[in-house]
């Protein structure tokens, strides 16, 4: 067993921290305040290969792995959680399933564009009446010659407004329930496809979360991803991978908040000494940092197992559950340490607190993660 980072991982951290510090963090407050999608950051990340970290070189990716990818999402999120989720949704929820389930033609067509960041990816499963219960899909796909015709809508879709390609789940055979769901690769220019209203969110306010509308949307049969009626399995497996990304995002938010807090408690003086000199501060920080490091070990474990090609659903669920709840705990305490200043937008912990909450909700709520974990335990 070896817990030390490899030289490559250390060099990668140096790179991603340098990038985050100079390109991501300085925009975080503005992206939040103006609910602005940081398109310029996405372009910069594309140039550096950050949009295709675990994608093989033959498909135009960086040839990295999921451990490096999770490190990237963590570091980016420590600076700006919006930027972290853009990369996570793009990579885990769009590029990864195409790599996993795509035909050679689909991979050749979509992966180079996604891995290079020329195209941004998104994923559409959730519907107004199908959240945690994803089986209640109301989007319908019917055959029309060489095409499928999709009708329905998806909500809360990360990257929606700026994506070029979407993985969309739709019922191909309603009589079969979850076994009648299929996955489709849908391009934004396909006839009948449109992006609907943008959500006004509490946190990750720059991530362009919108509704997707399909009105007689024409999707070539060649764009069905995986087997016909095999979409639910694809969606669940995809979310397993996505949870590594979201766990890394939560971890990054937590570490970012601790970093801000450590800086603050050393500077802030009350009763004649820095508040870092109070044992209350010291003990609480010790507990929080321990939780963060435990979260990181869980994230790295899940990513490592995915890289090794062994089952990792439970590990990913644990990582997401624990990291998300850690992020909530840490950001809440971080504000407390900052006192009144922490409640203002003068300090980034206020934003981090709002950003943290979503990590307990999307890509499977904490309750869903507990179901996955206990299900494996009690089977």
């Amino acid at each position: 067993m070896d817990f030390s980072l490899s030289k490559t991982e250390n060099l990668f951290l140096q790179m991603i921290r340098d990038f985050t510090e100079n390109e991501v963090k300085p925009l975080a407050a503005e992206v939040d305040e103006q609910e602005r999608f940081p398109i310029e950051t996405v372009e910069k990340m594309a140039k550096l290969g950050i949009m295709g970290i675990p994608i093989p070189v033959e498909y135009g990716g960086a040839g990295g792995n999921n451990v490096l990818y999770s490190m990237a999402v963590e570091e980016l999120s420590a600076g700006c959680a919006t930027t972290g989720v853009i990369v996570s949704a793009h990579t885990s929820l769009c590029a990864a399933p195409i790599l996993e389930y795509g035909t050679p033609e689909q991979k050749a067509k979509y992966l180079p564009k996604l891995a290079s960041g020329e195209w941004l990816g998104a994923f559409g499963l959730t519907e107004p009446n199908a959240g945690t219960d994803a089986s209640s899909q109301q989007t319908i796909a019917t055959v029309d010659g060489d095409n499928y015709i999709l009708n329905g809508s998806k909500i809360f879709i990360t990257n929606a407004e700026h994506a070029h390609v979407y993985i969309i789940l739709a019922m191909t055979d309603k009589s079969l329930g979850v076994k009648g769901i299929s996955a489709f690769i849908v391009e934004k220019d396909f006839p009948g496809f449109s992006v609907g209203k943008k959500e006004k969110k509490m946190g990750i306010r720059g991530s362009a979360t919108c509704e997707l509308i399909m009105e007689n949307c024409v999707v070539p049969k060649a764009n069905i991803l995986g087997k016909l009626n095999g979409g639910f399995g694809i969606a669940m497996k995809t979310l397993d991978g996505g949870r590594i990304g979201i766990a890394a995002q939560a971890l990054g938010i937590a570490q970012g908040a601790i970093n801000e807090t450590v800086k603050y408690v050393k500077e802030r003086k009350q009763f004649g000494k820095p508040i870092s000199a109070f044992q209350n501060t010291q003990f609480q920080l010790a507990d929080l940092q321990t939780r963060i490091v435990a979260s990181r070990l869980l994230v790295h474990q899940a990513a490592y197992k995915k890289d090794q090609g062994v089952p990792y659903s439970v590990e990913a669920a644990m990582a997401k559950l624990y990291a998300a709840e850690t992020a909530m705990e840490v950001t809440s305490k971080a504000i407390q340490f900052h006192g009144g200043y922490g409640y203002t937008r003068e300090y980034p912990v206020e934003r981090m607190f709002r950003d943290a909450k979503i990590t307990e909700i999307y890509e499977g709520t904490s309750e869903v993660q507990r179901m996955v974990i206990s299900g494996a335990l009690l089977k």
Binding site: K7, T8, L11, M15, D18, L48, G49, G63
Partner: protein, 260 residues
Amino acid sequence: MNIVVCIKQVPDTTEIKINPTTGTLIREGVPSIINPDDKAGLELALRLKDQFNAHVTVITMGPTQAEDVLREAYAMGVDRAILLTDRKFAGADTLATSHALAGALRKLDFDLLITGRQAIDGDTAQVGPQIAEHLDLPQVSYLQHLEFDGKKTFTIKRKIEDGYEMLQVDGPCVVTVLSGAYKPRYMNVRGVVESYSREVEIWGFAQIEVDESKLGLVGSPTRVHKAFSRGVKAAGELYEVDANEAAGIIISKLKEKFII
């Protein structure tokens, strides 16, 4: 077109802190980085690679851990990396350093040799011009911008105190680059992933043909007689006086400190 860039691994001096009670340097935990002027030089080389398909070699002289900066250079996009390391080079001042580097550079074929203007741990700005002299090549220091005609001529903007000079020189030549001249690119993910699987050539005394008497401590005309810290900052003086008197105090203090 072949370019060689000399880079140096240095402690990040902006991270060095002084122990407030003893006045000594706290060196622990200070990260090692590519010297900023050298990194700008590396960026210049990589831009020429992008534009003219130049082949870029980096060379660094230092202890074995200096390999780290070569790995970083690979991750930024260079083609070849050489680590010049030997106990015989230890303790070298700028002249002895330049002899060792010049010895290695004689083994390489290049049209342009790039160094940083100066290293942040020494601030001497000497090694680049000294190498140029040993290799009998023309030099342009304080480079702010460079244009290449695609054949053999470089037009160089050299920054001076109150403006700049435009100079023209044919390759091969040596330039020393200012850190502000080119904003270095970030490493890229693929470069990082592949960096440690690429070869870093290790060269030592055996690979260069330089008389041992010119190298290391033996070959260094200068010696450190003593080193000392600047000491703890004394408490400042505070005056509560009218504006006229205040201006007088400020001026006399600044004169005393040779600031004006």
